[in-house]
C-alpha cells in the first residue's frame, strides 16, 4: 500500500469501492460549500458509517488524514479520483443505439466522469450508417477493428435483453476488458473482465422505502 494508491491491494472488497464513490460525492459537496477539511467521524456521520469504517476503508489505499485536522477535502477528492481511475479520460464504445443507447449518448455524465464515447455499433438497419451526437453507427462486426484502432478497453452495453448475450460475446471476442451493462439481464463473463451492471432495481427500492416511510409517519 502506498500513499498515492498506485500499489493498492488487488482484493479491495466491492463494498469499499462503492463507498469510495459515496465519500467522493460527499467531499465534492463539501468542497462546493467551501469546506476545507473534515474529520472521519463527520464524514462517516453524513453517510451513516462509523468513523472506524471510514478510516478502515481509506486504509486500503494509504494514509490520507492529518492528525488534529482530519482530511483535506480537495486533496482527498483528487486521491479518490486517482484510485478510482476517473482522473483521466477513457475512450469507450457504445454497443446498441436503440432508445437506451441514444439516451446514454446524450447523457452528459459520461464525459464528466472521464468516459468518452468514440464509436457506436449496432445490428439494426434502421440506425446503421446514421449519425447520433456526431457518431456514425457502424455494424457490430466491425468491433474488433474499432477496439484496435482506438485501443479501447471499455464497452457500454445497451441492447434489449434478448440480444444481450450475443452482443456480450462479440464484445468479449473483440478484446474489451470492461463492460457497463444496461441490458436488464445478468451477464456471465470471464474473471479477467470487469463487469458493472446498472441496478435500477436498487434505486427503485430506495424510492419505495422513502415514499412508504413518508406515508406511514
Amino acid at each position: 500500500m502506498t500513499e498515492d494508491g498506485s500499489g493498492r491491494e488487488a482484493l479491495v472488497p466491492k463494498a469499499v469501492v462503492s463507498r469510495l464513490s459515496l465519500y467522493l460525492r460527499e467531499l465534492q459537496h463539501l468542497h462546493r460549500k467551501d469546506q476545507k477539511t473534515i474529520s472521519s467521524s463527520k464524514l462517516g456521520r453524513a453517510l451513516g458509517f462509523s468513523a472506524a469504517q471510514v478510516r478502515k476503508d481509506f486504509a486500503y489505499f494509504g494514509q490520507f488524514g492529518y492528525p488534529g485536522i482530519g482530511y483535506r477535502c480537495e486533496e482527498l477528492i483528487d486521491k479518490i479520483k486517482r484510485i478510482l481511475g476517473t482522473d483521466k479520460t477513457w475512450p469507450v464504445v457504445l454497443v446498441g443505439c436503440g432508445n437506451m443507447g441514444q439516451a446514454l449518448l446524450g447523457y452528459r455524465g459520461f464525459a464528466k466522469q472521464g468516459f468518452d464515447v468514440v464509436a457506436v455499433v449496432d445490428v439494426d438497419e434502421n440506425v446503421l450508417g446514421k449519425a447520433f451526437e456526431g457518431l456514425v453507427v457502424e455494424h457490430i462486426d466491425r468491433l474488433p477493428d474499432i477496439v484496435k484502432q482506438h485501443s479501447l478497453q471499455v464497452a457500454i452495453l445497451a441492447v434489449p435483453a434478448n440480444a444481450a448475450a450475443a452482443a456480450a460475446e462479440q464484445i468479449l471476442n473483440s478484446g474489451i476488458t470492461g463492460i457497463l451493462n444496461f441490458a436488464p439481464v445478468t451477464l456471465s463473463v470471464p474473471k479477467s473482465v470487469s463487469l458493472v451492471e446498472v441496478d435500477l432495481a436498487m434505486e427503485l427500492e430506495q424510492l419505495a422505502f422513502s415514499v412508504f416511510q413518508n406515508k406511514t409517519q
Copy 2:
C-alpha cells in the same frame, strides 16, 4: 421498533436503506442456490461489511435472526421487501417520453420491483397522442387529473436537463410525493417529497476502478 417493521424509525440513515438493497440482492442470490439460512458474519463478508454492521442495520427494524441458526433467507427476503415497500405494486406516471423515457418504458425491471407505469406525459408534439407500450402520451398539463384519477404518489422524471426544473415543478404541484429522477441534474424538492436520483456517475466510477485495477495488476 417492532418485528414486522411497521413501526420503524423515521430516521433510518440512507446508507442503511441502501445496504438493505444489497442484503436483499445477496439473499435472493442465496435463495436461488437453495441456501436456507445464513449467519450475519457470512452475509457481511459476502458484501464487505462486518457481522456487527449487518446486525446493527437490521436492528433498526426488529430482531430477524435466530440464535444458533442465523437468518432464514426466504423469511428475511420477505421482511426486507416489506420494509422497503416493494412487496406491493405502486402505480407511477412517467414524465418525459423521449429516448430515456421510452427506454425506461421498455425496462422490465420496473414491474419486477412492483412499479407499474399507468400513464405517460410529455410536452413534445412529436410524441403527444402516440402510444408507447400500450400507453398514449398525454400533455403534462393533465398531470393533476392523472394523479387524482390513479391516486398516484410516484413519478419517474426522464426529461432533458434543461426541462427538468419546470417538469419537477409541475410534478410537485400535482400532489406527487416521490420522484425517481433520471434527468442529469440535481433537483431541489421540499422535505416532504422523496427524491431518488439515479447516479450513473457512481456506476462509471466502479467500472473505471475495476478496469484500472485489472490493468495495473
